[in-house]
Amino acid sequence: MSAAVDDAAPVLEGRNLTKLFSVKSGHGFLSRRARLYAVQDVTVSIGAARVTAVVGESGSGKTTVARMLAKIITPDGGEVLLDGKAMPRGRPREYARQVQMIFQDPFASLNPVHRVRHNLVRPLKIHHVTDDIDAGVAGLLRRVSLEPPEDFADKFPHELSGGQRQRVAIARALAVRPRVLLADEPVSMLDVSIRLGVLNLLADLRDSEGLAILYVTHDIGSARYLADTIVVMYAGQLVEAAPSVSLTDDPAHPYTQLLLSAAPDPERPQPPSLVRSGAPPSLIAPPSGCRFHPRCPHAMEICRQVAPPSVEVSSGHTAACWLHVDSGKRQPEDARMAESIVTTDPSVFESARERAQRISPTGIRKQEERG
């Protein structure tokens, strides 16, 4: 399914990305090679001066998607397009100049034996960004608000705090003046009080330098804060994509509704009661049809048999769910269409009751009930 596409052409796009890992399943003599479907048929695009967030639990495949976009991992299916053109296999220097990545663990992403200066000088030298290396280093440190630069340039990573290290990692990524920044859970391992600082830095980079940023996270709250568009992944597949505010206000896919109800929200009058809703499925033998159907309160007969197509629920808002499928709203390029047999299951989450009630039995979201 496709993510929400903006008017401008996307800078970096991954189309129908698929990644299978070969794993050992079983013990000893009975072990056999099994295929783990880490990512299946995911299309994500990142536009200039926009932040796209990929939200999912661990095991949903979001990190694998980011790594495929960074071309650290080669996809088994699909392709990665930069400015609409397919890139050659592997990771040539030219690609490194345009697409950069920052990692989750600030303690591990900087080599403990090298000073900050070394980490910043290397990209400057490899890509011949500038002749005046010292000024380049100072400029980068200032850009990420590590001032005065002289204080920080000669420090070792262990002398910096987690937030400072992450800023150095961002500076390193910025050294080559990329157009795309892929951020893999950049603030998950930082203290709570410094997360917003780093997120604000990313927002600033988007605004002032027009970077296209991919923000991978499991925290939908920070995704809503930072991102313009959110795509939700579950068990290796994209289940919903929308502008961030509409996704959190009107989630269309039951999994997104589950995620939102599970996120702590102190402003709720009553914390929701989540019945035992199960766990994400095994990716070696995923459920047939829609992968979410074993946990879905609205699961129908067709959900068990056929994987749902992506459907446009409203402008810019797509979801892969049979609840929203109606013959008039299918996306024309989707080949997997089927007549929908609608029998709704009445048991629902307490917390999602209000949202579920907005979905009428015929599966079409009523325009009048929104807003």
């Binding site: 661990s58 203290d191 709570v192 917003l196 809503r224 102190p266 766990a279």
Partner: protein, 383 residues
């Protein structure tokens, strides 16, 4: 059965309606290292955990929250050493066995500690996922535990009790035959919780029990835990850096910074009406899920290095409203007027003008008692 003076989980301001304390920590000081090299991880902390209550301990890295809890049970690794204070455990076991009376945890010898640990006070750690023995089945580990602490049980009894415990946390008893690696992260954590509850402890210390889990699993497990607390009546000390979790779960919250307690208040009061600038800042670090998006600031700077603490109040370099006095003297934890809140801030100790952000009214209490009218203003006037 449990002897309780007050219904479980009801905070109140009148002292005679408070549940009796089960774990009292007074003036606890913990160092890492000895002599001149020592780093003070916890300084002069007072904490009272009442029977059946959930107390939340919030703080960031270096705040000393985990150290405090582990020190109370004397589980700190070398080079941790407790340098001052006392920890009193008022034991009233749920069963017939077990120590009764007041036990001085810091003065106790090994046999006393062994009698208390796990049967009366148990711990659920963040790394509990890896605390299960990988080469033993879950059932074998339960069996091991029960064999030591309930020697009068027969094999059948132990199996039944293990199945009962797993059922309590929502797992079927066929899981007793599984190895830990065959279970998902959430199930392993549930198994750990079941083990922690196996001997019906009076107090459970939870050190970031769900931080390594997915959001949905985390929610489920916390719900299970709170349900079990209602059912079994234990007290819980919940340590986390995620303040928003505590608001929904805890009765009382204590906020720590750089090894000291900075604020203590009932959960709803703390969330809706923070009095400490640090708490206010911390609460504003969580972007809301609804409403218009607006730019938010975290707290500038970063948590301090305990070896190089700022002078005076440890938070003053990052505080929006710091005054000269904050740089010179360290504020002590003081009661706020006649409320049951405590705060360590110079804003409330003199004639300083308290900023608007810190003067939200207290929320109405759960129950029919009306909230005290503007306790903060009253205290300000009095002082």
């Amino acid at each position: 059965m449990t002897a309780q003076e007050a219904p479980v989980g009801t905070p109140s301001t009148e002292p005679e309606q408070l549940a009796e304390p089960v774990l009292e920590i007074r003036g606890l000081c913990v160092d890492y290292g000895y002599g001149v090299d020592a780093v003070s991880a916890v300084v002069d902390c007072d904490l009272v955990l009442r029977r059946g209550e959930v107390m939340g301990l919030a703080g960031e890295s270096g705040s000393g929250k985990s150290t405090l809890a582990m020190a109370a049970l004397r589980l700190l690794h070398s080079p941790g050493v407790i340098t001052a204070g006392e920890v009193l455990f008022h034991s009233k076991p749920f069963g017939e066995q077990g120590p009764r009376g007041t036990i001085d945890m810091l003065g106790a010898n090994e046999s006393v500690l062994r009698a208390v640990r796990w049967s009366e006070i148990s711990v659920i750690l963040q790394s509990a996922l890896n605390a299960l023995n990988p080469v033993m089945t879950i059932g074998a580990q339960f069996d091991d535990l029960l064999r030591v602490h309930r020697p009068q049980f027969s094999n059948r009894d132990r199996w039944n009790r293990s199945a009962e415990l797993l059922d309590m946390v929502g797992m079927t008893d066929d899981r007793l035959r599984s190895y830990p690696h065959e279970l998902s992260g959430g199930m392993r954590q549930r198994a750990m919780i079941a083990m922690a509850l196996a001997l019906e402890p009076q107090v459970i210390l939870l050190d970031e029990p769900t931080t390594a889990l997915d959001v949905v699993t985390q929610r489920e497990i916390l719900e299970e835990l709170m349900g079990l607390r209602e059912q079994l009546g234990f007290a819980a000390l919940f340590i986390t850096h995620d303040l928003s979790l505590l608001v929904e779960l805890a009765d009382e919250i204590a906020v720590m910074y750089a090894g000291r307690l900075m604020e203590r208040a009932p959960a709803a009061s703390l969330f809706h009406a923070p009095r400490l600038p640090y708490t206010y800042g911390l609460l504003n670090c969580f972007p809301p899920m609804h409403g218009a998006r607006r730019p938010m600031e975290g707290i500038p700077g970063s948590p301090p290095d305990l070896r190089m603490l700022p002078t005076g109040c440890a938070f003053h370099p990052r505080c929006r409203w710091s005054m000269d006095r904050c740089r010179q003297e360290r504020p002590a934890l003081r009661r706020l007027g006649d409320s049951d809140r405590e705060v360590a801030c110079w804003l409330y100790a003199g004639d300083a003008v308290i900023p608007d952000e810190l003067t939200h009214p207290e929320p109405p209490k759960a129950g029919d008692r009306p909230a005290a009218r503007g306790p903060v203003r009253a205290s300000r006037a009095r002082r």
